[in-house]
């Protein structure tokens, strides 16, 4: 009688352990996938931005032929973005492209015809929207990192994390040149 009770206790403990092992394994997978997915969302937006550049250059060329320096800067930043192999390099090139685009739009202020061009306006809106989307996907990426890191550090998750070799992941730093101050209106 006592023996069979002992066997039952062992069976229950083992099955609880197995359930916990499976639960935490899946949890880390789900949280990890969310991080990967949000990273690829940022990537998608970076590429979309690069895709709009040739069209923008063509439009600007028609009105501001003399601004060769800036256009070259943009074209090179785009090339760097497309040829970057790692995500870190792509994110850095993306930030450079963004600041180059900013100077194009600053230059455009001096060309009223360009500013009134429908295609130019459209591209300007699209690029502004992409900038917002990159900021939002970056925010979600960091949120995902936060939940992942919390899961690896909080007890009892920390035990399973070390068992599965899951380490906290670094946050995405905002590159210096794109740290824009949000506009506050009162």
């Amino acid at each position: 009688m006592a023996l069979s009770a002992l066997i039952w206790i062992i069976i229950i403990v083992i099955s609880l352990l197995v359930i916990l092992l499976i639960y935490y394994f899946n949890r880390f997978i789900v949280l990890g996938n969310r991080i990967d997915n949000s990273l690829s969302q940022i990537d998608v937006q970076l590429r979309k931005r690069a895709d709009l550049v040739p069209n923008l250059i063509n439009t600007v060329k028609g009105y501001a032929k003399h601004e060769k320096g800036i256009m070259k800067e943009v074209t090179e930043a785009r090339k760097a973005l497309l040829s970057a192999k790692t995500f870190e390099k792509r994110a850095k090139a993306g930030a450079e492209l963004q600041s180059a685009l900013k100077s194009i739009f600053a230059v455009a202020e001096g060309y009223p015809d360009l500013k009134a061009n429908q295609n130019f306006l459209h591209l300007q809106q699209e690029l502004a929207a992409i900038e917002d989307k990159i900021a939002y996907s970056r925010q979600f990426y960091n949120d995902s990192i936060l939940s992942y890191n919390n899961a690896t550090k909080v007890f009892p998750g920390v035990v399973f994390a070390s068992l599965y070799g899951k380490k906290p992941k670094p946050y995405l730093e905002i590159p210096q040149e794109t740290k824009a101050v949000p506009k506050v209106e009162f």
Binding site: Q41, Q125, A129, D132, Y136, S137, F140, E185
Partner: protein
């Protein structure tokens, strides 16, 4: 606090949706039972089978089409990517910020600033805004409003809210039809006893239907709106956006004609009460807009 209650809210909504479906199912069975007693007890089995089939198909149709019914009831049209670019940009941004799939976007013709979300799950969700919303709100305000709707989607409010609106809304219509047909049939009825029972049920319906509709719609909104407001801020990280949008909603004047475009049953779905009723407390579908604004101000 919000973070903790988020998962509870999802479970809560799923349980409530299921409970609603069961209540509706039982309601139709009782209705069938009453009808069979009144008509002729001999028809009992046939009528019960009919009412079971009817209630199951009623539930299935409203479960899978509740969003379409809600959209059709306000005559919403799909938003076009070229015409409503601002709407698409804001919604895509919010979908990225919340990590939710991109909902289908709709626009309804109305000068009033308002919006609602519907659907049965985040994968089958729609967001509908008024044309006034797109005209009068700037980018940040629109993002705030869409983030608010996104949080209704994220915590499955949309499933329970839309199911309630559609199921209860249709029942109250059926009840009205039933009631009207009773007035006409009971006068011609030869059997006085049956006629009296019918009349009694009819009167009971007339009293109960609006009360039930009212009470159920109360259980929908209010607390959810505060939660959705704070989750919206978690998505945008910019409380003034939604705050200014609510302020604009509060300040705008709506004509009577604008209000009548929205059926009463779907009112709780909207970000703010389309009827602009001044009542607060037990019979309000939304919390007072002032207290929502001040809560956002404190974030």
């Amino acid at each position: 606090m919000d973070r903790l209650s988020f998962h509870d809210q999802i479970r809560n909504n799923k349980i409530k949706s299921l409970a609603l479906i069961i209540v509706i199912f039982i309601f139709f069975l009782i209705l069938g039972y009453i009808i069979s007693i009144i008509l002729d007890p001999g028809f009992f089995f046939i009528i019960m089978i009919i009412s079971i089939v009817f209630s199951i198909s009623y539930i299935l149709i409203s479960y899978y089409n509740s969003d379409k019914i809600a959209l059709a009831s306000v005559k919403a049209k799909p938003a076009s990517r070229t015409q409503h670019r601002k709407f698409y940009h804001a919604a895509e941004g919010m979908s990225l910020a919340s990590g939710l799939p991109m909902p289908k976007l709709y626009v309804m013709e109305s000068k009033q600033i308002n919006a609602f979300a519907s659907g049965r799950s985040p994968e089958h969700a729609v967001i509908c805004v008024t044309s006034g919303c797109l005209e009068k709100l700037d980018k940040q305000e629109l993002e705030g409003v869409i983030a608010h709707e996104m949080s209704h989607i994220a915590n499955f409010d949309i499933r329970y809210m839309t199911l309630t609106a559609v199921m209860i809304g249709m029942i109250s219509i059926i009840a009205q039809i039933f009631l009207r047909s009773l007035w006409f049939s009971s006068t011609r009825d030869k059997d006085n006893k049956a006629g009296a029972i019918l009349l009694l049920i009819g009167i009971l319906f007339a009293i109960l239907a609006p009360i039930v509709t009212q009470l159920v719609s109360l259980s929908i909104s209010r607390k959810r709106e505060y939660l959705a407001d704070s989750t919206a801020v978690k998505f945008t990280r910019y409380p003034p956006g939604l705050k200014k949008a609510l302020q604009k909603i509060k300040d705008e004047h709506t004509t009577k004609e604008e209000m009548h475009k929205t059926p009463k049953a779907v009112a709780p779905l909207f970000i703010s009460d389309p009827f602009k009723r001044k009542i607060s407390g037990l019979f309000a579908t939304h919390p007072p807009i002032d207290s929502r604004i001040s809560r956002l101000g404190r974030m």
